[in-house]
Amino acid sequence: MFESLDHPGLPQLIIIIIYLGLLLLLGLSSSRLFKGTKEDYQVASHSIGPFLLLMSLFGTTMTAFALVGSSGEAFKEGIGVYGMLASSSGIIHSLCFFIIGVKVWKFARRHKYTTQIEFFRDRLDNDFIGLLLFPILVGLVVPYLLIGVISSGTVVQSLTAGLAPDLFPVLNPAGEPIMAMHGGIPTWLGSLVICVVVLVYVFFGGMRGTAWANTLQTIVFMILGVVTFYVIANRLGGQDSLMENLKVLAGSVPTEKLTRIEMSKTKFFTYLLIPLSVGMFPHLFQHWMTAKSASTFKVPVVCHPLFIMIVWVPCVLVGIWATGDLIPAKPPLPNSPNAILPFLVKTQTGKVLGGLLAAGILAAIMSSLDSQFLCIGTIFTNDVLTHYKGKENVSDTQQVLYTRLFIIAIVAITYALGLLDPKSVFAMGVWCFSGFSALFPIVFAALYWRGLTAAGAICGILAAIASWGYMFYQALQQGLREYVLILPLGGEEYEVMPVVVMLASCLIVMVGVSLVTPKPSDATIKKFFS
């Protein structure tokens, strides 16, 4: 079928297969350490040290967006995306690890929580809050999962294009081949293989397998990001040294991409609230629970901002270079900004690097997918099934079995939804993050404010979701990506991110209702604030 290894798309496919094989091997190896208990399956028996925690937290928070989206957004918006999305996350993510992660870890270890809902039910001495949070958390994670599943199929297809044009034709309405995808592994097959690989290592390895796989994947996408930067810089610059190449490439970029002339200052400022979502991500909560000790958090807290910088700065530079006049006129640049990095890799580097970058992008995608699958399986098992059936009626072994069965169901449902190819799901990304950010006051108050009441928390959550729903409905008419609030002030109009209103609604309602409703019992206060 293939005459040589030089066949278009074949080297890339071989590298992807080898990489997926390595992941399976790692996941299955980790399962040999499995102790058979629920605690071991869901939180690796709280045995994860600083390095694995750093890599798994970083891998989980960085999705495919870190590689593909960062260069694509820089191509579209210029260098401002780094401040908007990366340096802000460097400050706020570590802040969340520090003020939320360490504290919830302490309570969780003391009172044996694995999920956020277990913590909130106990802290607020209220069962209903679990029922309320459950659909909200799952509902906000699912679109995030879908983005990963759909992206993985698209990446595999575009980077194996040319492999088997007769078998996998991709034609436009006029019947002409779309060269960027023609002959590549079809998206349904690529997504299916990725889902199965993630399912296998999460199913057998549980949280330990996830943490090990995340570590490998994070190393892979960080190294490949830097290597890609180096090779593209040297190819596009055409000078003798890397430094000279960097200089000529920077000189070719139009002024609007080197600056933030076209970016709203208030939108930039209010974007700072988006990374607060990390404080309420259920999958990160579960990763925090894996830490061996509170001190284990020190390395992730310190290194997270640097890791973001190592991944994002090269990608942003590549993105703005693509707007310059040193980019060859042929073949023309793709229309989609997210296709910029794969396009440059394909046209400016060799097939092997193309295959390696495909593995790197898939690594970034899978390192988020695995944690989310495991987390949703855990939430279903602990907060719904075991909670209502009674812990005494479900053995440890049964809970592991139920978690695994729920994971299979979630993977199957997500894959099936992905087949519908809902394009608008990509625009949902920032809305999902905004929803989690809007709930941040609840977790912060639960940890630091004795006066938080169950009624206050419930009303705060309802206010956050109501404001989210209202603005989401409006955004559906105006465009999910473009929607911003306009704040008229002193004759000027300022753009503000919707998350400001969502978070403020939650905060004001939560505080107001807590002040006028019965305080938690002394026993509860003593349990969490002694």
Partner: protein, 87 residues
């Protein structure tokens, strides 16, 4: 929390607020200066913010870390029997 640790928390709070203020770098908004001849100054500034954040959090682990947490948990929990990576 000891008075030394309490002072540390205030120092870290001040540094985080400073980082957030420096993050809104209106002064470099329209500057197209290239640092080292290749790095747009707006990007360079925010890369420095990332480094500053890392240094701030490194300081936090020294002067504002809740050191008693491990002890508090250890008093009520059995220590894990094994540790990944031997950390």
């Amino acid at each position: 929390m000891s008075s030394q640790s309490s002072r540390g928390v205030w120092i870290i709070t001040a540094l985080v607020v400073l980082l957030l203020i420096l993050h809104q770098d209106n002064w470099f908004w329209e500057s197209d200066t290239l640092v080292f001849g290749f790095m747009p100054i707006g990007l360079f500034w925010h890369a420095c913010i990332s480094i500053g954040a890392s240094l701030t959090w490194a300081l936090a682990t020294v002067i504002a870390w809740p050191l008693d947490d491990d002890d508090a948990v250890a008093a009520t929990e059995t220590a894990p029997t094994s540790t990944e990576e031997g950390a």
